[in-house]
Point group: D2
Chain length 142, copies 4
Amino acid sequence: MELPDVSESFARVNYSETDQMGVVYHARYLVWLDIARCEHLRRTGISYADLEQLGLRLVVSELTIRYRQPARYDDLVRVRCWVRECVPRRVVFGYAVDCPARGTLLATATTSMLVLGADFSWSRIPPDVVARLPVSADPVRL
Amino acid sequence: MELPDVSESFARVNYSETDQMGVVYHARYLVWLDIARCEHLRRTGISYADLEQLGLRLVVSELTIRYRQPARYDDLVRVRCWVRECVPRRVVFGYAVDCPARGTLLATATTSMLVLGADFSWSRIPPDVVARLPVSADPVRL
Amino acid sequence: MELPDVSESFARVNYSETDQMGVVYHARYLVWLDIARCEHLRRTGISYADLEQLGLRLVVSELTIRYRQPARYDDLVRVRCWVRECVPRRVVFGYAVDCPARGTLLATATTSMLVLGADFSWSRIPPDVVARLPVSADPVRL
Amino acid sequence: MELPDVSESFARVNYSETDQMGVVYHARYLVWLDIARCEHLRRTGISYADLEQLGLRLVVSELTIRYRQPARYDDLVRVRCWVRECVPRRVVFGYAVDCPARGTLLATATTSMLVLGADFSWSRIPPDVVARLPVSADPVRL
């Protein structure tokens, strides 16, 4: 089973994501990042829904994002996602959001996720899931 | 204890609620309606959080909304809310959204809410809560 | 060129769309309807972005929605969309939202759209666009 | 005219802001930060709407946020906001989000804002606005 180190997911910008500046409102990018890391997990054979079934939660504890160029209505944006660090109690994801049709890097971001149990107590990712989340070098400068 | 038949709640339009038409995106109004009916419940002495503690949920089963004039960034919008019908298994709320500073009616709406248990089975509102939700005539034409 | 009367679009439910009932928050469905009618327009050869370039806007003036079953995190939902009525000043769309994997109808809806100019004055859809929006009978009971 | 260095704004958590973990979805905090910096600006006598009238935009170029404790439905959250750095081309805001009723710090954040013109070209804040945005030391450790 091949485990790609960097996954890709795509989102078409819809009207609800724009604001009156005529570009995508900055908070919407966080949803794309969320979708991207769920797709990244899914490709390892363990979906986020599976983790929740196991009583685990990945909770964002820290997020950084640099906005470089605005995304616009109807853009097809791509989010590349990879794991920068993975230990049983914490996973750090990196992200690069771009618009391939315009050849434009839109944003780069990182999220540090804590692993919690269903009652928000500290927990750990199962070792076999850690094993399926290989750490990648950053494909773009963050 | 006085139970006003029509309650009022207020929301300042924030930037995230606008879209690239330069007005409030139509789906955002539904959040204002939600806030308004929660405030309406709160004034009866039973908050929605209290109902959830009792294992009850009010779930939107049907919603109608007429958009009359656009709301704009930084508008202070008022949502009047009242009960149009209340039986143990269902509550129908009416709403009028306006911008008092501009004297403009922005939207009118209704939501029909089903009363469910924590497991989404049919349930009933306690009679003393029903008693605190007097039915009002529509203060504006819907 | 074949013009299907009923179009289909798909959305994977993401985490931001859920609420603490464990199901999709009711206002999120309106974004799926928006995406669906944009895709419906796109398949006629005229995208909504094209209409905006022509100085036209389709604005929701009335919306009705019936929620039948809850949508859940990670569901792949399908939105079927069709035109119920189309005159130069107004287009009425119908929608059926379901989850094919579970065989469940989740919601049905209609939106009545007014055609406005860039300055929110009354306007009309170009006749050739009207011609590409054939009216369909409702494929499900609304 | 007194210009407070640290402003406060309040938001009641509504149902749309929760997710199926039973807490506020992390992206919603960014809207509270946006509301807080608009209120911070308003208290200086220049609202964000005024800046837009002058053809200026403050655009988020970088955002960092640390989530410390979850916010919950119906919490009344407070956002303290202050200016960490202010030069004509850039303003850096700091934020502390807490729940005073529970005595809990929920999150801390910073946003770096670029000053752009209506056409997204580089621009500058008018000197009299800069003068009304005094820089404050961080009231909490970020």
